[in-house]
Symmetry: C2
Subunit: 178 residues, 2 copies
């Protein structure tokens, strides 16, 4: 990934459309990946996002223990790898190896970036008060990267049970909304 620093003020535009993302965590030299769609923006700047992680996920423990992760946004070209990561548990499998994904060192957190994703957001957990009740981690994006060689990436959106929508046409409407 020819990566370029991406302004934190524009991160909401990457997550607000609701793409399926991959979230990486790392602890003790071992990194894991989970696939996730239960994510919302919560603040523009510094960018905050809320993500819901089931405690049945292997990544739940890593995220809780380290307080760090990377949100990686895949385009449709690697959809099968994304779904593969969602169907496998990191307790038994090195998902980077199994699915041919490449970990890259992040700059501010211990979790790795994923080279094959067009955007990578380094995050720190800033609020765990809703973790026990809802599995809701509140994250601050502390550094964002995009791959400038990827033009108009088309993300995938999960509709349940293996059904996805791929980004189609882009439209522009007169709007005062940020």
């Amino acid at each position: 990934m020819a990566r370029r620093s991406f302004p934190l003020s524009k991160v909401y535009g990457l997550l607000e459309p609701g793409p399926v993302v991959m979230v990486t965590t790392a602890c003790g030299g071992q990194a894991n990946i989970m696939t996730l769609s239960w994510l919302t923006m919560m603040e523009f700047e510094p960018p905050l996002a809320g993500c819901v992680v089931s405690d049945r996920n292997y990544s739940f423990g890593l995220l809780k223990a380290t307080g760090e992760c990377v949100i990686s946004i895949p385009a449709v070209e690697i959809a099968e790898k994304v779904v593969g990561c969602g169907n496998t548990t990191g307790a038994k499998t090195d998902k980077f190896k199994k699915f041919g994904l490449t970990p890259l060192p992040a700059s501010k957190v211990g979790a790795p970036l994923i080279e094959e994703c067009f955007a990578n957001l380094e995050c720190r957990v800033i609020d765990t008060s809703m973790v026990d009740k809802y599995g809701l981690f509140i994250l601050e994006v502390v550094k964002a990267w995009i791959d400038p060689s990827v033009k108009n990436p088309r993300t995938i959106h999960h509709r349940g049970r293996g059904n996805f929508t791929v980004d189609g046409k882009r439209i522009r409407l007169k709007s005062k909304m940020k």
Copy 2:
């Protein structure tokens, strides 16, 4: 809208893809609409969703006061009305009238359904503990409706500053994920 009751167990498949939605509220005979993208599923069943509403929105007060709303999901055909609702404040405007949207009585909450939307989800606020800090309302969907006459609705996804993606191709991948 020829409406049909929709199973609560399938609601996540409507919200998880991250569409722009409209949220209606009502108080004292007055109804309002806000446009919103900061929303995530939080539980499958009963379906819980978290939505972030700025206290600068007129709807914030109505939602806090009544503890009820309807999440209405529009398809691309009414995208201009959706953006219009996002660009206008309900403090001064009857948005139903201004944008030619039709309120219909809900069955379990005081807020209205929107006839022109292909899905309407009646919601009750069940947790306000994160409202003061983050504007996060946790909602339980108590009744869901779809318009069975709308086949394969294409939703819109907000990328910021008037830029939207429209649903494109649907794909199916072998997945064990719910």
